[in-house]
C-alpha cells in the first residue's frame, strides 16, 4: 500500500504542518519508504501477544489530592510569544 501526495497532504494537515509542493513530493517518497519498512511487521505472528506500552511493569502512581505547585505564571508567561492581562493571546477566534 502506498500513500498518494493528497493523503500525505492530509496527514500533514492532521499534524498541523503545511508542506510546499516540493516538500509534499519528497515527503510522499520518504513516508512511503518508511512505511514499507514498517510493512515487515506484518510478517510476525503476534496472535495472543499483549501489546507492550511501557518497559517497566508498573502501575500509575497516585498522589494525595493536594496543591503542591506554586504559582509561576509570571515566569512562564515571560517567555510567551504574546500575552495580555495574564492570558496567552492568539488571533481572534470568535468575533
Amino acid at each position: 500500500m502506498s500513500l498518494s501526495e493528497e493523503q500525505v497532504g492530509q496527514i500533514a494537515y492532521l499534524a498541523r504542518l503545511s508542506l510546499s509542493n516540493e516538500a509534499l513530493k519528497s515527503n510522499t517518497k520518504d513516508l512511503n519508504s518508511i512505511l514499507s519498512l514498517a510493512e515487515q511487521l506484518a510478517q510476525i505472528d503476534t496472535d495472543n501477544i499483549t501489546p507492550m506500552a511501557h518497559p517497566l511493569h508498573m502501575t500509575q502512581r497516585l498522589r494525595e489530592d493536594k496543591v503542591g505547585e506554586e504559582d509561576q505564571s509570571e515566569s512562564f508567561q515571560a517567555i510567551a510569544p504574546k500575552i495580555g492581562k495574564k492570558h496567552y493571546l492568539v488571533p481572534t477566534v470568535i468575533e
Binding site: 500513500l3 500525505v8 496527514i11 500533514a12 494537515y13 492532521l14 499534524a15 498541523r16 504542518l17 503545511s18 508542506l19 515527503n27 520518504d30 513516508l31 519508504s33 518508511i34 512505511l35 519498512l37 514498517a38 510493512e39 515487515q40 511487521l41 506484518a42 510476525i44 503476534t46 501477544i49 499483549t50 501489546p51 507492550m52 506500552a53 511501557h54 518497559p55 517497566l56 508498573m58 500509575q60 502512581r61 498522589r63 509561576q72 515566569s75 512562564f76 515571560a78 517567555i79 510567551a80 510569544p81 504574546k82 496567552y88 492568539v90 488571533p91 481572534t92 477566534v93
Partner: protein, 482 residues
C-alpha cells in the same frame, strides 16, 4: 599529561589537593571550547560557569565539597536549565529560556558541578549523525569530515575532543551509545526509569533515558551516582534506591558468561568493526569470562518497531509546540489555524516533520491496529527474547554501530540512516541498560563495544567495563592534535 586528558577521578583529586582550582580548570575548558571548531556547543555559559566554579572553590576551601565539586561538564541541550536557553537543537525553541531546571540539571547543581554550556544535538534528539541540528553539524574530533553520531553528537564530540571531562546525554534509540562508539568514549544508557525525565524535553516518552558520557567507566559510575534516583515529578520514575555505582567496579569478572547474539554479527556489519568487537570479547575470555551464542530472533524487527513506536510518541509529545505559550511563533498569523500551521512548519526541521507525520498516520483511525498496536506487540516479543537470553548469560555483547563514523553529508535517505541504529534500538524497546566502551579502531576511527545488561544491572555493566579498561588502553586514546 595535559589537564584536559585527566579523568573525573583524577581531576577530583587535583581539586581536593589544591593542585589547581575549579576556576582554573573551568577557564581551561572554556578556552578550549572557544578555540574549537567542532561546533559541539549551542550555548557556552562562560559567566554562569565561572560563578559556579568560584562557589565550588569556596566549598573546597571550607572542606565541605563532595567528590564532584568543581568538575566542569557539557550539558546536552535537551535538559531544561533555569535562565539558560534550552533549544533541543531546534529553531522552534531557539528563543526558549527555560523558566525551570530539569531534575538532572538540579541534581548536577546540587553536586556543585560546573556547567560549561549546552551541547549540540540532533533536533529533538531525532537523528543518528547530528546533521539534523538547527545549529549546524557537529564534527567528529577524530576526523572532522566525519559525523560524530547522534543524537548526543555534541556531547560525544565535547568529551572526545577534550572540551569537557564529561557530558550528559539521552538515549531513545541509541543516542548515547552510538555517538560514544563513533567518538571513542564511554557512554551508559541506564535502565528505563532510573534517571528522571522531568525537564528533559520529550521525544518518545516510553523510550527516553538520560545517562553519562565520559572517558572511563569509573567516571560514568561517579556521574550516575548523581544523576540517578526516584523523582516524584516523573510519573515513570522507578521507586528504587540508588546504589553506589562505584562500589563493585573492582570486583573480579572471572566466571562471567557473555552472550553473543548471532543476529548482531550478520550481514551489514563492517568486517573491521566485527574483528575489533571479537578481539574485545577475546580479551574478556582471557580475563576468565566464558562466551556463549544466544539468539534474539525478533531483533531484526527492532527497526520497523522503533520507527513506528517512537514517531507515534513524538507526534503526540511535539503537539505541545504550537506557537502559543512558548517557542517560535510565525510572523503576522492571519488566524489561529495559520498560526499553528506556519509556526510548526517554519519551526520544525525536515526529519522532525517526517517523524511527526509518520506518527500522526500510524495513530490515525483505521491504521492504529496495523501499525502502532502491531509494533507494541512486536516490542513485547523483542523484550521476551532478552528475558530468555538473560536466563543463560550475565551480559550481552556486540557491536554498537555496523560501521565506523561515516562522512558528513553522505547519507541522505532517511531509511538508510535508520538502518544504522540496528544494534542499539532493541535495548530501548525492552527498557534495558546498555553501554558503549572503546574497543579499538577501524579505518583510523574508533569502534565501540556494546554491553547490554538485565534490568537494573548498571553496577554490573560498569564493573565489566571498568575491568576491561584495566586491561586495555583504548579509552585513554585521544585524537592526535589534542
Amino acid at each position: 599529561m595535559s589537564i584536559h586528558h585527566k579523568t573525573i577521578a583524577q581531576l577530583s583529586q587535583g581539586l581536593s589537593s589544591g593542585e589547581f582550582s575549579s576556576v582554573e580548570l573551568t577557564q581551561h575548558y572554556l578556552d578550549r571550547i572557544n578555540a574549537s571548531d567542532l561546533n559541539a556547543f549551542i550555548t557556552v555559559t562562560d559567566e554562569f560557569a565561572m560563578k559556579q566554579a568560584q562557589a565550588a572553590d569556596d566549598k573546597i576551601a571550607k572542606g565541605v565539597g563532595g567528590i564532584l565539586t568543581g568538575i566542569p561538564y557539557a550539558h546536552k541541550d535537551i535538559f531544561c536549565t533555569n535562565g539558560v536557553k534550552t533549544s533541543a537543537g531546534s529553531k522552534m525553541l531557539d528563543n526558549f529560556i527555560s523558566p525551570y531546571d530539569a531534575t538532572v540539571s538540579h541534581k548536577l547543581n546540587q553536586a556543585d558541578l560546573v556547567m560549561l554550556g549546552k551541547a549540540n544535538m540532533d533536533e529533538f534528539a531525532m537523528g543518528s549523525s547530528n546533521e539534523n541540528s538547527y545549529y549546524g553539524d557537529v564534527k567528529n574530533p577524530w576526523n572532522v569530515d566525519k559525523i560524530p553520531g547522534g543524537s548526543s553528537g555534541g556531547s560525544a564530540a565535547a568529551v572526545a575532543g577534550r572540551l569537557a571531562p564529561f557530558a550528559t546525554g539521552t538515549d531513545t534509540g541509541g543516542s548515547i551509545r552510538q555517538p560514544s562508539s563513533l567518538c571513542g568514549i564511554t557512554g551508559l544508557k541506564p535502565t528505563y526509569g532510573r534517571v528522571s525525565r522531568y525537564g528533559m524535553i520529550a521525544y518518545a516518552s516510553s523510550l527516553d533515558q538520560a545517562g553519562p558520557m565520559t572517558q572511563t567507566a569509573e567516571d560514568a559510575a561517579l556521574v550516575l551516582n548523581v544523576m540517578a534516583g526516584f523523582d516524584e515529578k516523573d510519573s515513570t520514575s522507578a521507586e528504587r534506591d540508588v546504589e553506589d555505582y562505584t562500589a563493585s567496579l573492582n570486583d573480579s569478572i572471572k566466571g562471567l558468561t557473555i552472550g553473543l547474539p548471532k543476529e548482531f554479527f550478520s550481514e551489514g556489519l563492517d568486517d573491521e568493526v566485527a574483528s575489533q568487537v571479537m578481539a574485545a570479547v577475546k580479551e574478556f575470555e582471557a580475563m576468565g569470562a566464558t562466551v556463549k551464542e544466544v539468539s534474539l530472533p525478533n531483533s531484526a524487527y527492532a527497526i520497523p518497531t522503533y520507527y513506528i513506536v517512537a514517531p507515534c510518541e513524538c507526534s503526540s509529545n511535539l503537539s505541545r509546540l504550537d506557537g502559543v505559550r512558548y517557542g517560535y511563533r510565525c510572523e503576522d498569523p492571519k488566524d489561529l489555524e495559520d498560526l499553528y500551521l506556519r509556526s510548526r512548519s517554519e519551526g520544525f526541521g525536515e526529519e522532525v516533520k517526517r517523524r511527526i507525520m509518520i506518527g500522526a498516520y500510524a495513530l490515525s483511525a483505521g491504521y492504529y491496529d496495523a501499525y502502532y498496536l502491531k509494533a507494541q506487540k512486536t516490542r513485547h516479543l523483542i523484550s521476551e527474547d532478552f528475558k530468555k537470553a538473560f536466563k543463560e548469560v550475565d551480559v550481552i555483547m556486540g557491536p554498537v554501530s555496523p560501521t565506523t563514523a561515516f562522512d558528513l553529508g553522505s547519507v541522505k535517505d532517511p531509511v538508510s540512516m535508520y538502518l544504522a541504529d540496528i544494534y542499539t534500538l532493541s535495548a530501548n524497546l525492552a527498557g534495558l541498560p546498555g553501554m558503549s566502551i572503546p574497543a579499538g579502531f577501524a579505518q583510523k576511527l574508533p569502534v565501540g563495544l556494546q554491553l547490554i545488561g538485565n534490568y537494573w544491572s548498571e553496577s554490573k555493566l560498569l564493573n565489566i567495563a571498568h575491568q576491561f579498561q584495566q586491561q586495555t588502553d583504548w579509552h585513554t586514546q585521544a585524537p592526535q592534535e589534542l
